[in-house]
Each structure stands twice: as structure tokens, then as C-alpha cells.
Amino acid sequence: MTTLRKQIGDFTRLRYKRRKTLSLWMTFLLSLAAISACAALFAVFGYVIIQGVPHLTLSFFTGLPKPVGEVGGGMLNALVGSVLMVFLASVVGIPWGIATGMYLSEYGRGRFAFCVRFCSDMLSSVPSIVIGLFVYVLMVKPMHRFSGLAGSLALALIMVPIVARNTEELLKLVPQHIREAGLALGIPRWKVTLWIVLRGSLGGITTGVMLGIARIAGETAPLLFTALNNRFFSIAPDQPMASLPVQIYTYAIAPFEDWNRQAWSGAFVLILFVFMLNIVTRIVLRPGRGSVRD
């Protein structure tokens, strides 16, 4: 027995250096992976700033697109269109998502709830272009017209599962005894759900809602053939409507330098909006949630 112990000891000493070196190398490689991801983020964000900021003039926010070949103009129509469609999508998507989240968390046992949960997960992984296609068939074709409304519906469908699952997860964190305390006071269940359970996790739900807004604000694919685009200023929801992402796309693939420049400026505005929402929700609204250890 002691010979084996000695053998192991010898082995240990001999191989230990190699094992330690390997461990250090792997640690290095893993950190390199993380560094490269951060580098990619900075490369994208940095270029958007470098290319986008210098041409960000006042007329970018106040002007309308100029005809092909003319320099200048702005994206007012696209900015307003985006705001309008995101707003309309939120009006539908937020209550719908929160209601579903409440159902899943408060009543969500059994086969039907499982089905809802599954479908909601599936809906969130349907490619957004397919959602656009669906809304086209559902709305644009029968109405014979591209419209801001159709674009909003497509965005709402993307938003609902995000809000729903986030709401469900947050409400599930509310301890059971809080519900019971409310029920024991004779408060009806719907009031307990709305005024005690839901209100208690409003902060977290806002987070989910804001992340949902950030997500749909940048969506392009579902708008391509629902809201289409509009060179003119229009806030009529039953008409084709411009949006910032679609405008960036159009300008990015166009062979005009001025349009390309405006695409960068648009990208800067968009990325700033999205990042701000993300930073606010992640840092301000949920402090202390970071490490996944343990």
C-alpha cells in the first residue's frame, strides 16, 4: 500500500507542472474568449459612434428624406413612425403579455397552462421575418394595403412572449404567504393578484416591458412588408409607415454616400435608444443581480 502511495506521489510531482501549465493556458484561452466578445461589442458600437455622430445634424431630426440624388434631408418621418408603431405595439403587447404572465403564475398549473407556456416560448423563437409574413397574410392582404397598424401588430406579437415570461417569473418570486395574507383578509382573488401581487413586482415587470420595447424598436424584418416604408411624413395608421430600422436598411444598401451616412446616423440614434433602455433596466432597476455564482 505504501508503495502505491509513493508511486502516486512520484507521478503527482512529475505531472504536476504539466497540469498546472495546462490549467493556466486554458484560463488564458477562456479569458481570451470573453475579451474577444467585448472587443466585438466595442468594434460595432465604436464604429456606429465614429460614423454616426459627425453627420448627426439638426436636420436629421427635423427633415424629411430628399429625392434620390439630392443631398441632405432627415429621418423625421422614420423617427415618428417608429415611435408611433412601438407605442401602438406596446398598447396591445404590454397588457396582453402581463395578463398572460399573471395567468401563468397565479393559475398556471395543468395542461392548458403548459400549452400556453410552450406556445409563448415558441412564439418568442419564431423568426421575426416569419411573423411579418404571418401579419401580411392576416392583415395586409385582406386590407389590400400596407399599414402602420399591421407593422404594430407584428411588433406586438414579438413583444408579448417577452413580457409574459418575464412577468410570470417575477410573480412566481412573490412568496405564497403574501397572497394568503391578502386572501385571509377577505380580499377577492383578482384584487389580491392585481393590487398586491402585481403591484409588488411592478419594478421588475417594468424591466421586462422596457427590454421588450428595446427589442421591438430595433426590429426591421417584420416591418418590411407590413408597414413597408413611406418617404413622406405620415401618422395615419392605415397607411404605409416609415420606421427607423427600415430606413437604416434602405439607406445602408443604397449606392448613395449621403444615404449611407444617414444610415449611420440613424444607427447611432437607434443603438443609443436601445442601449439606454438596457442600461437603465439592468443597472438602475435591478441592483445586486449580476453574479450567477452559487
Partner: protein
């Protein structure tokens, strides 16, 4: 009394700003079983985890002081904790065989890390360790099944076998029976007494009868202090300290 095999000198430990151990001096003699008792949160688990430098793996946790293993301070800057842990085996509170490994792979995991691959040696060690852990007869026909397929008590003995496979001179046990039923507990207690022939066992337990049954010496911890240390028989019958007496008579904890 022979020379001590492991000795803590002036050992302090923290979790972030909270001090969990205060100036602990404690010696362990070879071929003995030492029980560490005390109410939960008293630092006894932290103490054993300092002995193989596992404490510092917890984010934010730090330790300071000396732990002398066979004449060398393991808290020396030049010492690599990985090498220390080969000489000090450890068994945890909850049985935790590696879920993706078979029974045999679990037993020889430590040897494989050291680079020993020869089938004959691995087989020999598996049999010996499992016999030592009194598990051989129950698993010898299913060595290739996953370690997690065993019952809780068997899993814990598998973990003991896993620790024994590299023949550490010292074995740390952190409440090894607290998650087990009485029969499994009895088996493991019996095992510990057997193990004493080959090694030094340091065992944390919250069960005072267990400490009284199997240990040679007992150390009583309270709020990060070592209150009393001595022969088990005297600690339990004629404690020097009032607090020890209160604890073992069930006044608190």
C-alpha cells in the same frame, strides 16, 4: 503522545467583512479521530475547510494564519493548494458523486487526475478503496453504473472511497452523516473507527453522541472561537468551560 501531523496556528478566517474564525490553535495527532462540535454557524465547518484551503474558493472568503502539515505551512505563498489537497482528503455533508461518472470512475477520479491510467492499478485501487469504505460487496457487480444510481448512504460511502483512493494521510469529514438515515450513519461511524488505523480523521459533527462514540479528541467551537479542546471523555464528562457544559447538556444550540 506522538508528534502532531497537522497543526493550526493562529488561524483566522473571514467571509467578506465577517470574521468566521478567531485565532484558532489546534493540533491533530496521527491515527486519531478528532470531532469538531458546536452549534451551527460556529465556524467548525469553516475551520476544516481552511485545513485544505478550500475556504478561499468561496467568493469573498479569506483566511490568515498558519496550518502546518508535516512541518510545512500550507499557507506559505510558495505552496500550491492543489498539492495540499492531494494529501488531505475531504468528504462533504451531502453525498456528491460526480453525476456523469460511473461508480468506478468516481473512485479513481483522483488517481486519474494525477495521471495514473494503468487499468490494473485503477482496478486494484477501486477494489481496495471500496472495501475500505465497506461498499465493495454492494457494488462490485455494477461498477460501471452511474454513481448517482446508489442510495444516499451508499453514495456517501462512495465519496469516502473516492477520497481514500489517493491514500491521503488526513481525511476531513464535514458532517458526513447529517443527510443520512440511522443505519447508514452507523455504518459510516464504524468505518471512521476503522480508518483511524491508516490515517488521521477530522470530523465535523452536530451530533454530540456521534462525537462521544467515535472520537478520541473533541474540540468545541462557539461563534468562531475554539472554546475547549481535549480528550473526548473529559470534554463530555468534566468540561473545563461553562459554555461547553451548557452546550453538551443542551442549554443552547
Amino acid at each position: 503522545m506522538s508528534e502532531s501531523i497537522l497543526k493550526a496556528e493562529n488561524l483566522n478566517a473571514w467571509f467578506g467583512p465577517v470574521q468566521a474564525l478567531k485565532n484558532i490553535d489546534l493540533e491533530f495527532s496521527p491515527h486519531s479521530v478528532t470531532a469538531l462540535i458546536g452549534p451551527s454557524g460556529c465556524g467548525k465547518s469553516t475551520f476544516v475547510r481552511c485545513l485544505n484551503r478550500l475556504h478561499e474558493e468561496v467568493p469573498g472568503a479569506t483566511a490568515q494564519g498558519k496550518v502546518i502539515l508535516q512541518g510545512k505551512n500550507i499557507y506559505d505563498v510558495a505552496v500550491d493548494p492543489v498539492l495540499i489537497r492531494r494529501k488531505i482528503g475531504m468528504v462533504f455533508q451531502k453525498p456528491n458523486p460526480f453525476p456523469s461518472l460511473s461508480i468506478m470512475e468516481n473512485v479513481v477520479a483522483g488517481l486519474k487526475l494525477a495521471g495514473i491510467r494503468r487499468k490494473s492499478i485503477l482496478m486494484e485501487v477501486t477494489e481496495r478503496s471500496l472495501k475500505q469504505a465497506a461498499l465493495w460487496d454492494e457494488v462490485k457487480d455494477k461498477l460501471n453504473q452511474p454513481g448517482t444510481s446508489l442510495s444516499g448512504g451508499q453514495q456517501q460511502r462512495l465519496c469516502i472511497a473516492r477520497a481514500l483512493a489517493v491514500e491521503p494521510p488526513i481525511l476531513l469529514m464535514d458532517e458526513p452523516t447529517s443527510a443520512l438515515d440511522p443505519i447508514s450513519t452507523a455504518k459510516i461511524e464504524e468505518l471512521v473507527v476503522q480508518l483511524k488505523k491508516n490515517m488521521t480523521v477530522i470530523m465535523v459533527t452536530h451530533n454530540m453522541q456521534q462525537a462521544a462514540r467515535i472520537s478520541d479528541k473533541t474540540a468545541f467551537f462557539l461563534l468562531g472561537d475554539l472554546v475547549e479542546f481535549g480528550e473526548t471523555s473529559s470534554v463530555f464528562t468534566v468540561p473545563r468551560e461553562k459554555r461547553t457544559e451548557q452546550y453538551i447538556t443542551g442549554k443552547f444550540g
